[in-house]
């Protein structure tokens, strides 16, 4: 029986990898995909992966194994220290994997028709398979380094999908912005992983969690260690889940085709940060201060996003800020509920993630039909649709209202704040290094600038090789 379930587990993890290798390999040959073959390959992958993960779930529900581990091997293993590739099937990872399969499967079927005859069709589905592999890897990861690998794949494919329409400047600019935020969050993640290894010699979640299985684990770190690691992980999660102050990238990610913006930013990858926090919740509860910071960050994000959502005049931005509101609340729940109510309360944010992801995907996919929906609603109600009034509108004085309106319309100034107070100084610093270097090289070479600065070949040769 345990062999059987291990086999199932391998299928769950392996099928997207097979798809990725097949699609990636084929696209390297430079030939185009046949649309129907491609869609059959995707449907098959999703069906196999989804059925296998449901089977694992059924097995876990019927049997008594609440924790199945697949360990294909280690990257590095020296006594007292290892980096290993491990996948864990437990009460957190299996629902998340099923969610991934359901939503990605729906988007695969949707995208097949939506992107029909699009020049970037092949590129889309290669990136889609990268994303799927990343999401499945991240959700089932049993060690922090495996999670990081999946996390990276998700980030890479997301940034490239935002810049899907690469012939226009705006998507490329916004894709680059998404990518730089992801890089910051990745750096924090990597530092957290290294710290964990430094503290405990490994990054395995089940070892970290000590005796019990998720969510009942008890970590063995000290409160300060938990705070340090936790804060780094929080930065990582904030980048991925567009929490304050990184929220600016989320609406910008809507540059891609509707299906990818729907599932990738609206519902799956935006929850990945929250998922990470859930995964390490045994560590978080060790530090009340950390939990306080998480709650504060989550609530701030939720309030900012709710405020901003009210004034958005396009449907995709409105939905992405609505999404962000809930992600903020979910993060706050993760910081608040387990310390208060005990480990079982981790299920509340988990259920919240699952429900929210499904609801939002549906709304995103239907976004272009908004005009028809409004007409239907007006006809049903029999009048123009009422504009809801916020609590702020009733309680707050007019000057404050105007100020708040502007604050919300300019998306809480988060982007310009980051640009001016973080990006600007960092750029300035590096430019001053550059100037320093230039002066040094000039000094050392006796006046000639660096060779990299005059790169153009001569313009007179028009012939011989």
């Amino acid at each position: 029986m345990s062999k059987f379930i291990t086999l199932l587990g391998v299928v769950v993890v392996g099928s997207p990898v097979v798809l990725l290798i097949a699609l990636g390999g084929w696209s390297l040959t430079g030939r185009r995909f046949n649309e129907s073959v491609l869609s059959r390959a995707i449907s098959a992958t999703i069906a196999v992966g989804l059925l296998a993960s449901i089977a694992v779930l059924a097995h876990m529900l019927v049997g008594d194994s609440r924790h199945v581990v697949i360990a294909p091997g280690s990257w590095v293993a020296v006594p007292g220290y290892h980096f290993s590739l491990r996948f864990v099937f437990d009460r957190l990872s299996v629902p998340f994997a099923i969610l991934t399969y359901v939503l990605c499967g729906t988007i695969g079927a949707f995208g097949r028709r939506y992107l029909h005859r699009e020049p970037g069709y092949d590129r889309f589905f290669v990136l889609y398979s990268v994303f799927l592999t990343g999401m499945v890897t991240a959700s089932l990861a049993g060690t922090i380094e495996t999670l990081f690998a999946g996390w990276e794949l998700v980030g890479l494919s997301s940034a490239l999908l935002v810049a899907f329409f690469q012939e226009r400047p705006a998507p490329v600019r916004n894709g680059l912005r998404v990518w730089s935020v992801y890089r910051v969050s990745d750096a924090a993640f990597l530092m957290a992983a290294l710290l964990l290894h430094r503290m405990t010699g490994e990054g395995d979640f089940d070892q970290l969690a000590g005796t019990g299985f998720w969510p009942y684990g008890e970590a063995t770190l000290s409160s300060t260690q938990a705070l340090t690691v936790g804060l780094l992980l929080l930065v990582a999660a904030a980048g991925k889940s567009a929490l304050v102050p990184f929220s600016g990238w989320l609406p910008r990610a809507m540059e891609g085709p509707t299906p990818s913006s729907a599932v990738f930013y609206g519902s799956l990858s935006v929850h990945l940060g929250a998922f990470l926090l859930l995964r390490v919740s045994p560590i978080l509860v060790l530090s009340p201060l950390l939990c306080g910071i998480i709650v504060a960050l989550g609530l701030t994000t939720a309030v900012f996003a709710a405020l901003t959502e009210r004034v958005q005049t396009d449907i995709k931005s409105a939905l992405s800020y609505a999404s962000l509101t809930q992600v903020g609340i979910i993060v706050a729940e993760i910081g608040l509920l387990p310390p208060l109510l005990g480990p079982w309360a981790c299920y509340i944010p988990l259920v919240h993630i699952l429900g929210h992801a499904c609801l939002r995907t549906l709304q995103f996919l239907r976004a272009p039909t908004l005009l028809q929906d409004y007409r239907l609603l007006e006809n049903a109600i029999g009048t123009r649709l009422p504009r809801s009034r916020s609590i702020a509108g009733r309680l707050v004085a007019r000057p404050v209202q105007i100020w708040l309106y502007r604050f919300a319309v300019e998306r809480c100034y988060l982007d310009s704040w980051l640009d001016n107070y973080v990006v600007g100084p960092v750029l300035g610093l590096f430019r001053s290094f550059d100037r320093l270097e230039r002066r040094w090289t000039a000094f050392l070479t006796g006046g000639t600038p660096r060779t990299s600065e005059h790169g153009l070949p001569p313009t007179t040769i028009f012939e011989e090789r």
Partner: protein
């Protein structure tokens, strides 16, 4: 406004005030003029097709597309590669290209170019062969890295190639063979030898005469290339210099590479959307009712704004403007002064400034002008206010970029002087680029290196000048004419050949069908005539002359159902029959509850607390609709319909068509038409289509049309154009009800239009997307006609199956072997599919409009490309009054559709709104690309993808005299014809003669063929083929 004037007058006295006022008045005028260039597409929920370059209709077509292209930065025609590809697959025949080119050159075609070739030959070669060119760096790469200097172009004719090689071989041997006794004077051949001397060692010892063919080829090309470079050196550069830059944005972009429009548009997009929003956002822009300028100032002068460096001081500036009572116009004048724009530059400066965010600016103008068509109107003058805000922002952005990139902190008016030094020099065509073109042509014509080397300086100059007088745009213009000629001739041939066939008119029609003139109804009518040969069909503008505000039994508001240029004066409502009144009330209540709950969920799911409750508590339930609608769209739609059936309005309804009160109004008593008005409507339509004497069948079906699809912001663009981009079913229904009215018939008879007593009209709606026809008021069909009605309905069903089948051939996702039933099911599924971006092709195949009797076109396969308007010239009066009113309605609509498709196809990004995939509904008015962009106007690529960009051809069955009278009386149609925005031809009512309108006169058309391809049925003709098909005669 009044306050500024007050302050100004205090400052400078009455004379100054007059000066200022005059200046502001001129400014207002210039802004109004510049505004004409903005896109005139209104809110997307009612989509009206129009000529994208409407503002240029005063110019001839070719001139207009070229200057429009320059102003908007768009393409005038398809790319040369596209035309050349069409030439390759026979879509353009060589004869088309040659004829068009000869006509274009006239007598100048045979003039020799030096002694090399004639002008005609040169230009033809430049058209037929792709002559590559590129920037110097690219050329360098091309010459060095490809076999351009090793292999003669593959498309060079073999005889030419031989001549080039043999001649060079012989001459080179001659030049390089040294005779004993030493050289005499230096000659041309010596110079040539010097030029290529260093090439010799490359290929081996020439004396041994052992160079391979490849070596000779490479030598020839290298020699040719050197000769060309030598020849092209030092020629006069092309004179054209770019026009002076007037916007500081363009100046800074050129000098620094930084685009200030990015900063400005980012802010403006947000505020434009907020100001124009028709109810998408919950929060409304404060002070929206005071106009854009005031609202922007109020909001943006708030303290503690974002730390954007370029906006430092903006709040103070806005406070100064607002508190100083400086109005928008005065503010613009001030900005113009500060930016250093002189009064003679205003026009260009302001139009370029408006075009920087043309979609949103255009929507300001549209919403301002058609305040009646939007829910939340805006104040007049908003466009001026927008411009005022924009210029203030531009000043700040330009100041900041100038300071940061150039270290310039002086006044912006002085900026050009500082910047001009830093501008990169204007690049004209380099000698290498010129040489490369000659190099390629030489290979095609076999001009040898010696021959070219022998040309004088003047010879080179005139050769290069000759080549450059036929640039890319000119080549495309000629190509386009050839592209159109092929199609024009095909249609005109068909019209003149088809007329020669013997045809029996349908003696006693079993039933008659009225359709809209729409090109999509062409195939429906054809199939109907094939499955039921004793049926007659007619085409007339699908609003059936009923211009009304209409409200259905389950609708919240009246919507206009008439062409966009008409403002209706009548109101019509659909009412449930009294017997079902209580049932209706119950259903209305249920619907209201369902609607209120749905709306609440829509809003609450996006809110803070309720959003959490809903998503955590019930979010997973969303998987059911999500998965079912994406994987099984048709099934899901069926389930939804069944569930929705309980709240639909009762099926038994009537239109309130007859007005009791005196004046029409939307209130009880004012609804409907008076008897006289109804008679007028019926008479006009019947006379228009030529149904006057005893020619009405016992059953007449009147079909409006519309289109329903999911997830499609451009849905309205598929609806009936004659109904102003709305669903035209109620018009067909209303017409049937009017024509059935005995009192109307009585009075019609008095006017000499007898409607037989046993004729019954039934209205209906043809859904062109899911391919269904729904009939109205079928309970009123008398028992005597029931059987015939059912038979007619059966025939229509069969025709719809075939119509769906013909449509399916154009969709790659439908197999070519698909059956009628499967095709029908697939069309239905497309309409319900959330993931379908091409629910139908709409007007994508439109190309020709035929105005005349159906008998002249019946049995011709037009491939869904023809608008068919019924008109009987034998019934018209000497003044051609019917023709005049028919064309007045048909020409603007069909020309508008054709031209909008033309422009959206030739430049999908500039004129069209590009791909649908990232579209994002903004402000309930239009779509943006992605998260924030300009409002995108025009048609999406998925609608125009298969379109052949052609100007509409109008074929009118009439005499030259009648046509001329119509043109004389209608300046707008005359302008379209004379300036070549449409093609016009006339078909003689009593012979097969066709005449073409060109240069203001009618010229007889000589058919190119006497035979049309024949097929047994439409299916027989189109089966197995996806692309466009020629016109064929269907011998059903």
């Amino acid at each position: 406004m009044s306050t500024i004037e007050a302050t100004t007058s205090q400052r400078s006295g009455s004379q100054g005030r007059e000066l200022d006022e005059g200046r502001l008045e001129r400014l207002r005028h210039v802004i109004g003029h510049a505004g004409h260039l903005l896109p005139s597409q209104g809110p997307i929920t009612v989509f009206v097709h129009h000529n994208t370059l409407h503002a240029f209709e005063d110019l001839p077509f070719d001139e207009a597309v070229q200057s429009g292209g320059r102003i908007f930065g768009c393409e005038p025609y398809l790319s040369e590669e596209r035309y050349r590809e069409a030439l390759g697959r026979g879509r353009i025949r060589p004869v088309d290209l040659e004829t068009v080119l000869r006509h274009d050159l006239n007598s100048r075609g045979d003039e020799p170019i030096l002694s090399l070739c004639t002008r005609f030959e040169l230009r033809l070669a430049m058209l037929r062969h792709s002559i590559q060119t590129g920037p110097a760096a690219e050329l360098r790469w091309f010459v060095a890295e490809t076999d351009a200097l090793d292999r003669i172009r593959e498309d060079a004719p073999s005889a030419v190639r031989e001549r080039l090689l043999t001649d060079t071989h012989r001459r080179a041997m001659h030049d390089f063979t040294e005779m004993d006794g030493g050289a005499g004077e230096r000659t041309g051949s010596d110079e040539f030898r010097d030029l290529v001397d260093d090439l010799r060692p490359r290929f081996g010892d020439l004396a041994k005469a052992d160079w391979s063919d490849c070596s000779w080829e490479a030598f020839t090309l290298r020699a040719l290339w050197r000769v060309c470079r030598e020849g092209a050196r030092g020629l006069k550069p092309v004179a054209a210099t770019p026009p002076a830059i007037v916007r500081s944005r363009d100046l800074l972009l050129e000098a620094t590479g930084r685009d200030t429009d990015l900063l400005v548009n980012d802010v403006l997009t947000r505020y434009c959307a907020a100001y124009l929003d028709q109810g998408l956002a919950h929060g409304v822009l404060p002070d929206r009712e005071c106009g854009f300028y005031q609202a922007f100032c109020t909001v943006h002068r708030q303290p503690a704004g974002p730390p954007e460096r370029w906006q430092i001081g903006l709040a103070q500036e806005l406070a100064r403007l607002q508190d100083g009572g400086i109005g928008p116009l005065a503010c613009i004048a001030e900005s113009l002064d500060r930016l250093g724009v002189r009064e003679e530059q205003w026009d260009r400066f302001l139009s370029e400034t408006l075009l920087a965010l043309r979609g949103w600016a255009g929507m300001f103008q549209q919403v301002e002008e058609r305040n009646d068509r939007v829910v939340h109107p805006i104040a007049p003058g908003s466009l001026v206010e927008y411009l005022a805000v924009r210029l203030v922002l531009e000043r700040f952005a330009a100041n900041d970029v100038a300071r940061e990139e150039l270290g310039y902190a002086g006044p912006l008016a002085e900026l050009p002087k500082t910047v001009e030094r830093r501008l990169p020099p204007h690049r004209s065509t380099s000698p290498e680029q010129r040489a490369f073109v000659v190099f390629q042509l030489a290979q095609l014509f076999g001009w040898t290196p010696h021959e070219l080397h022998g040309l004088s300086r003047r010879g080179w100059a005139s050769l290069v000048e000759e080549i450059e007088s036929f640039p890319n745009v000119e080549r495309r213009r000629v190509f386009h004419a050839a592209y159109e000629r092929r199609y024009l001739n095909q249609i005109l041939d068909a019209m003149s050949v088809h007329g020669r066939r013997d045809r029996q008119p349908v003696a006693v029609p079993q039933f008659q069908v009225f359709c809209c003139i729409d090109d999509r109804e062409e195939s429906f009518r054809r199939h109907l005539e094939e499955v039921a040969p004793d049926v007659e069909t007619f085409g007339t503008a699908g609003f059936y002359n009923i211009a009304m505000y209409y409200r259905g039994a389950a609708d919240a508001h009246f919507v206009p159902l008439c062409p966009a240029v008409v403002t209706p004066k009548h109101w019509v409502e659909e009412r449930v029959v009294e017997a079902t009144e209580s049932n209706h009330q119950r259903r209305t209540k249920a619907r209201r509850v369902v609607g209120a709950v749905s709306h609440w969920i829509h809003v609450a799911s996006r809110s803070f607390a309720w959003g959490a409750v809903l998503s955590a508590g019930a979010g997973v339930v969303a998987t059911v609709p999500l998965v079912s609608r994406v994987l099984f769209p048709r099934l899901a739609a069926g389930v939804r319909r069944r569930l929705g059936g309980h709240v639909q309005p009762a099926s038994k309804t009537r239109l309130t068509l007859e007005r009791a009160g005196a004046e029409p109004s939307p209130d009880e008593g004012g609804l409907g038409y008076s008897l006289d008005e109804m008679i007028g409507i019926a008479e006009t339509v019947l006379r228009d289509v030529g149904l006057t004497e005893e020619t009405l069948a016992r059953l007449v079906l009147v079909l409006g049309h519309g289109s329903h699809s999911m997830n499609n912001p451009h849905e309205a663009a598929h609806d009936c154009g004659a109904c102003g981009g709305a669903v035209g079913g109620p018009n067909g229904r209303a017409f049937a009800q009017i024509a059935n009215n005995p009192r109307v018939r009585e009075r019609l008879a008095a006017r000499g239009l007898r409607v037989p007593e046993d004729t019954v009209f039934v209205g209906g709606l043809h859904n062109t997307c899911n391919e269904y026809v729904k009939f109205y008021d079928t309970d009123r069909v008398p028992a005597s006609h029931r059987e015939e009605f059912e038979a007619a309905r059966g025939a229509i069903e069969r025709a719809l199956d075939r119509d769906a089948h013909e449509r399916a051939r154009r969709f790659d996702s439908a197999p070519l072997s698909i059956s009628f039933e499967e095709a029908r099911a697939q069309m239905d599924a497309r309409a319900e599919d959330l993931a379908q971006v091409r629910p139908e092709w709409g007007h994508a195949t439109n190309a020709v409009t035929i105005v005349g009797r159906r008998s002249r076109t019946r049995g011709l396969f037009f491939d869904r490309r023809a608008f068919l308007t019924s008109y009987d010239p034998t019934q018209d009066d000497a003044d051609a009054a019917i023709l005049a009113r028919t064309l007045a309605a048909v020409v603007p609509v069909c020309a508008g559709i054709g031209l909008e498709y033309y422009f959206s196809h030739v430049d999908p990004y500039g004129y069209g709104c590009s791909t649908k995939l990232p579209h994002n509904v903004a402000a309930l008015l239009g779509v943006m690309d992605g998260a924030a962009s300009d409002l995108r106007t025009g048609l999406p690529w998925q609608m125009v993808e298969i379109h052949e960009p052609l100007r509409q051809l109008f074929v009118v069955e009439t005499t030259p005299e009648a046509m001329r009278r119509v043109l004389d009386r209608s300046p707008s149609i005359d302008r379209l014809c004379r300036n070549g925005w449409i093609h016009l031809a006339i078909l003689s009512p009593d012979s097969n003669d066709v005449q073409v309108f060109r240069d203001g006169r009618f010229h007889p058309y000589v058919p190119e063929t006497t035979e049309l391809p024949k097929a047994r049925s439409s299916v027989d003709w189109y089966r197995g083929w996806r692309d466009f098909l020629d016109v064929a005669a269907i011998e059903a």
